[in-house]
C-alpha cells in the first residue's frame, strides 16, 4: 500500500503545484489518474518515484516512510515510472536498456516485452535509443522497460501519447494482462476513455488537488459528461477540445 500524507509541492517562485494531497493506493488495484493539462498529475507521479521531493508531507510504502529515499532506493523497493517524455540514450540499444531494467532475465526473453508493446524485436533489439526513433517508438520502448520488471507499483505517464490506433488497442490488452499477471498496483495517467475503462478507481486531479476519487463507473459518467476544470475552460473562447 502506498500512502501520500498531506503532500504539498511548491514549484519555482514557491507557486503551489500540489496542495495538501492525501491519497491511498491499495495493493493490486488499477488506478487511472486523469485531469486537465497542468493539473499536477506528472508532478504527483514524480513525487512517488522520488524524482521530486515534497515541500511538506510524507510518503509511506507498506507503512515505511520512504519520503527521504532516493530514486534508486525506491526503484529497488519496486516502484517504477514510465516517463511522459522519455530521454534518449546515444549508443545504448533497446536490448541493453531492457537488460538494465531487468537484470535477471536472459536477453532472449526480453524480446517478449517488445512484442507486448507491438514492436518487432528483430527490428528493435539492436537499435540505439537515439533520435532515429520516433516519439511513438520511444514511448513504447519506455513502456516495455516497465513491463519487464517485477514491480509493486507501476506508474505510466500518458503512455498512449504518440501511439497509433492499431498499437493503442494492443496496448490496452497489454495493460490489462500485465496488471493481472504481475499482481502489481498499476497507476496510469491518461486522458483516454479506453484506458479509463480499465480502472478499478479513477482519480481526477486538477489545480494541484484531488478533485474526485472513486469507482470508475460513477466517476466516468461525470468526467465524460462535463468538464470539472472550469478554470481551464473559462480562459478560452468557444469550444475547447477538453470540454466536449
Amino acid at each position: 500500500m502506498l500512502e501520500l500524507q498531506n503532500i504539498t509541492y511548491l514549484g519555482e517562485d514557491n507557486t503551489p503545484i500540489l496542495k495538501e494531497v492525501n491519497l491511498v493506493l491499495e495493493d493490486k488495484k488499477f488506478y487511472v489518474i486523469t485531469g486537465p493539462n497542468g493539473g499536477g498529475k506528472s508532478t504527483l507521479a514524480k513525487l512517488i518515484m522520488g524524482i521530486y521531493q515534497p515541500s511538506s508531507g510524507k510518503i509511506l510504502m507498506d507503512g515505511e516512510d520512504i519520503t527521504e529515499l532516493s530514486v534508486t532506493q525506491r526503484a529497488l523497493r519496486g516502484i517504477g515510472f514510465a516517463f511522459q517524455q522519455p530521454p534518449r540514450f546515444k549508443g545504448i540499444t533497446v536490448g541493453q536498456l531492457l537488460q538494465l531494467s531487468n537484470k535477471a532475465e536472459i536477453y532472449g526473453e526480453l524480446c517478449n516485452y517488445l512484442l507486448d508493446v507491438g514492436l518487432c524485436p528483430k527490428d528493435y533489439m539492436n537499435r540505439e535509443v537515439n533520435t532515429s526513433l520516433s516519439g511513438g517508438e520511444l514511448k513504447r520502448i519506455e513502456i516495455a522497460t516497465l513491463l519487464s520488471r517485477k514491480l509493486k507499483i507501476a506508474l505510466f505517464d500518458e503512455p498512449e501519447a504518440g501511439i497509433d490506433l492499431w498499437s493503442f488497442s494492443r496496448l490496452i490488452d497489454t495493460f490489462r494482462n500485465i496488471h493481472s499477471r504481475n499482481g502489481q498496483t498499476t497507476v496510469i495517467i491518461s486522458h483516454q476513455e479506453k484506458i479509463l475503462e480499465l480502472a478499478d478507481e479513477v482519480i481526477l486531479i486538477a489545480d494541484g488537488q484531488i478533485q474526485q476519487k472513486g469507482e470508475k463507473d460513477k466517476l466516468l459518467a461525470s468526467i465524460l459528461q462535463g468538464c470539472d476544470c472550469s478554470m481551464d475552460c473559462l480562459e478560452r473562447t468557444g469550444e475547447a477540445d477538453e470540454c466536449r
Binding site: 518515484m49 524524482i51 532516493s70 530514486v71 534508486t72 525506491r74 526503484a75 529497488l76 516502484i79 517504477g80 515510472f81 516517463f83 517524455q85 522519455p86 530521454p87 540514450f89 546515444k90 549508443g91 545504448i92 541493453q96 538494465l100 531494467s101 522497460t145 520488471r149
Partner: protein
C-alpha cells in the same frame, strides 16, 4: 614478454597472443617481432625509423597488427610508417600505442602514418591510444595521419583514446578521389589535466566522393579538448561532420568544424554539440534501480561505444 607488455598489447591491439596474420611489434624504439604473409610484406625503412607495409592487390580478409609499446620512462620515439594498400584488397589494420610510464621523465611517441588506399580497396584501420603508470612522467602521443583514398576505395578509420594519455595532438589529412569514401570515427575520453587536440582536413576531390566524420568525446575533471574537423568539397560530393561532446566537472571543450564548398554540387553538413549528461537520462536509469554513479558510467560507456 612480461605482464606490463602483455597488458599494453591487449589494450591497444586486442592482442592476447601473437596475431595470426602479419604483424610488427615495436617496443621502446626497437622492433621486437615481425611476421610477413604471402600477401603482406613489412619492411624496415633504410633512410629513417619506421616500416613500409605493402599489401598485394586483391588480398582479401587478412589483417595487419602493428602495435607500439613504450615501457621505459624518458623514451622519445618517432616513426614513419607507409601503407600501400593494393587495388581491390580488403584488410584490417590494427595500430595503436600503449605507454607505461612509471618514471618521472616524459615518454613520447610520434607516428607519421601515410596511407595509399588504391583503387577499389577496402580498409578498416583501428588506432588505439593507451597510457598507464604511476610516475609523474608525462605520456605524450602525437600522431599524424595522411590518407589518400583512390577511385572507388573505401576506408574506415577508427581512432580511440580513452584515458591515460596526458597530451595528444592528432593531425589527420585526407584526399578522396572519385567514388571514394572515408569514414572517420573518433572516440576520446580525457580526465585529470589531460589535453587533446584533433585537427582534421578532408578534401573531397573526385566526383561523388564522400566522407563522414563522427567525433564523440567526454571531457572530465580539468581536461581540455579541441576539435578542428574540416571538410573541403572540390567536386560533386557529400560530406558530413558530427562533433558530439559530453562535458563534466571543470573541463573545457572547443569544437570548431568547418565546411568549405568550391562546387555547386557539393553537399556539406556540420553539426557540433557540447553539453553535460542530461539529468533526465540519469534519473531514468536510477528509476530502473541503478545508482547515480553506475547510471553515469552506463551513459558514458554507451556514448563512447
Amino acid at each position: 614478454m612480461n605482464v606490463v607488455e602483455k597488458r599494453l598489447l591487449r589494450e591497444v591491439a586486442d592482442l592476447h597472443d601473437m596475431p595470426a596474420g602479419a604483424y610488427n611489434i615495436r617496443k621502446d624504439g626497437q622492433g621486437v617481432g615481425r611476421q610477413n604473409t604471402e600477401n603482406i610484406e613489412i619492411k624496415t625503412k633504410t633512410d629513417k625509423p619506421g616500416i613500409d607495409i605493402i599489401i598485394k592487390p586483391g588480398t582479401k580478409g587478412e589483417s595487419v597488427h602493428i602495435p607500439v609499446i613504450i615501457t621505459e620512462s624518458g623514451i622519445e620515439d618517432m616513426v614513419y610508417n607507409n601503407f600501400d594498400i593494393g587495388e581491390g584488397s580488403e584488410v584490417l589494420i590494427v595500430a595503436g600505442c600503449g605507454i607505461h610510464n612509471s618514471g618521472s621523465k616524459k615518454s613520447q611517441h610520434d607516428g607519421i602514418h601515410h596511407f595509399i588506399i588504391r583503387k577499389g580497396a577496402r580498409v578498416h584501420y583501428v588506432e588505439k591510444h593507451y597510457g598507464e603508470g604511476e610516475g609523474a612522467g608525462e605520456r605524450v602521443l602525437n600522431p599524424k595521419t595522411i590518407i589518400e583514398v583512390e577511385e572507388g576505395a573505401y576506408a574506415e578509420f577508427e581512432l580511440v583514446q580513452l584515458k591515460g594519455v596526458d597530451s595528444t595532438r592528432r593531425s589527420t589529412e585526407a584526399k578522396i578521389h572519385k567514388n571514394g569514401h572515408l569514414l572517420i570515427t573518433e572516440r576520446l575520453l580525457t580526465h585529470k589535466k589531460q589535453y587533446a587536440e584533433s585537427d582534421m582536413v578532408v578534401e573531397l576531390l573526385g566526383e561523388d566522393s564522400t566522407t563522414q566524420i563522427i567525433s564523440r568525446s567526454v571531457a572530465q575533471d580539468d581536461s581540455q579538448q579541441v576539435f578542428y574537423p574540416r571538410v573541403i568539397g572540390m567536386n560533386k560530393c557529400r560530406g558530413h561532420v558530427q562533433c558530439d561532446a559530453i562535458i563534466m566537472d571543470r573541463a573545457v571543450v572547443r569544437a570548431i568544424p568547418e565546411i568549405a564548398a568550391h562546387h555547386t554540387d557539393a553537399q556539406l553538413v556540420h553539426e557540433a554539440a557540447i553539453g553535460k549528461i542530461a539529468g533526465e537520462q540519469i534519473i531514468k536509469l536510477m528509476s530502473m534501480g541503478l545508482t547515480e554513479q553506475v547510471a553515469e558510467e552506463t551513459i558514458l560507456q554507451g556514448f563512447l561505444k
